[in-house]
């Protein structure tokens, strides 16, 4: 039952995803590509690309698109998006209801001190997993990667520009 699996998968992602949109890539990849094999790495990379250039929260974009592709219809998209928001919804209401100023307590601060370096590792894992033969088909892929990396790192280029230029390069080079 793919809808139930989708719901449970994205509920977990919504509950455990600390560290923003980039860290979420490794959560979705682990579940959707590795564990359930609903998508190939190349398909998943395309979803990340579209989610980066579409306006709105990247996490919502990725959940909607991955849910759609995994189930093959709009119900999958709806279930994945609802499930990824549900834990936040319950948690944030509990936090505001009981006025837990929990971000200043010592216990929470030390937990986050441990999480921060791990989140760096999760994002690194997301990049490493996507470095495979599906995404790097030849030497031109490596050159495109190097160019994009320098543009983002040195010139602080935004995702829309980088992906638009690389799309044009792909059209011209292949």
């Amino acid at each position: 039952m793919i809808y139930l699996q989708l719901f449970w998968t994205f509920l977990k992602i919504g509950l455990f995803n600390f560290g923003g949109g980039y860290a979420m890539i490794s959560f979705i990849q682990n579940e959707v590509v590795y564990k359930h094999a609903w998508l190939t790495t190349a398909q998943f990379t395309d979803i990340v690309a579209v989610s980066q250039v579409t306006p709105g929260p990247v996490g919502i974009n990725m959940a909607t698109y991955a849910g759609f592709s995994a189930a093959g219809d709009a119900w999958g998209a709806l279930i994945a998006t609802t499930a990824v928001c549900l834990p936040s919804f319950i948690l944030m209401i509990l936090i505001s209801k009981y006025f837990l100023k929990y971000q200043h307590t010592h216990c929470v601060e030390s937990t986050f001190a441990g999480l921060r370096p791990a989140v760096v590792g999760l994002i690194a894992a997301a990049a490493l997993v996507l470095c495979n033969a599906e995404n790097f088909v030849d030497y031109k892929s490596v050159l495109l990667f190097a160019g994009a990396f320098l543009a983002v790192w040195k010139l602080k280029a935004g995702p829309v520009w980088v992906l638009a230029v690389s799309a044009g390069m792909g059209y011209l080079c292949y």
Partner: protein, 155 residues
């Protein structure tokens, strides 16, 4: 996203004041899930309780949901189109670069030193080569941070 939210919520509608807004940003970043959605849930709840939260969340997610759905349906029909295939061949390596750069930036922001560099390296290896679920990484890292500070206090 953040300046846009501040302008709408604090300046234009004056739903909450600037100090509350900063608290709200801190809580939304600390809580799990998607930052913009957390902000919407919190603001909505503060103004109108459960249903305020509900409608604010719907507002924060619905435009993305519909746009992505339209794009997904469009690409489903064109995924075998030679032009689309060429474009995505170029885009894929750039996506990897987009994810790789924040690793370096966040490593700096998290003050990773030669003493703590083993933590992100180990986490990345476990997920990449060991296929360990990031859920366990988050649980272990949070627990580790908590235990470490308790041990330091005990001394």
């Amino acid at each position: 996203m953040l300046p846009f939210m501040e302008r709408e919520i604090v300046d234009k509608h004056a739903w909450i004041n600037r100090a509350e807004f900063l608290d709200l940003v801190a809580v939304s970043q600390a809580a799990p899930g998607i930052f913009a959605v957390n902000m919407a849930i919190f603001t909505g709840y503060k103004l109108k309780g459960f249903w305020g939260s509900f409608w604010a969340t719907l507002g924060a997610t619905l435009p993305s949901f519909l746009i992505i759905l339209a794009i997904a349906v469009f690409f489903q029909n064109y995924q075998d189109n030679p032009t689309v295939i060429r474009i995505f061949k170029g885009v894929r390596p750039a996506v990897v670069a987009l994810i790789a750069v924040p690793v370096l930036r966040l490593a700096k922001a998290a003050k990773i030193s030669y003493k703590t560099v083993w933590i992100p390296v180990l986490c990345a290896l476990l997920v990449w080569a060991g296929h360990v679920s990031p859920v366990y990484i988050v649980l272990m890292a949070g627990l580790g941070g908590w235990l470490y500070s308790r041990r330091k206090e005990a001394r």
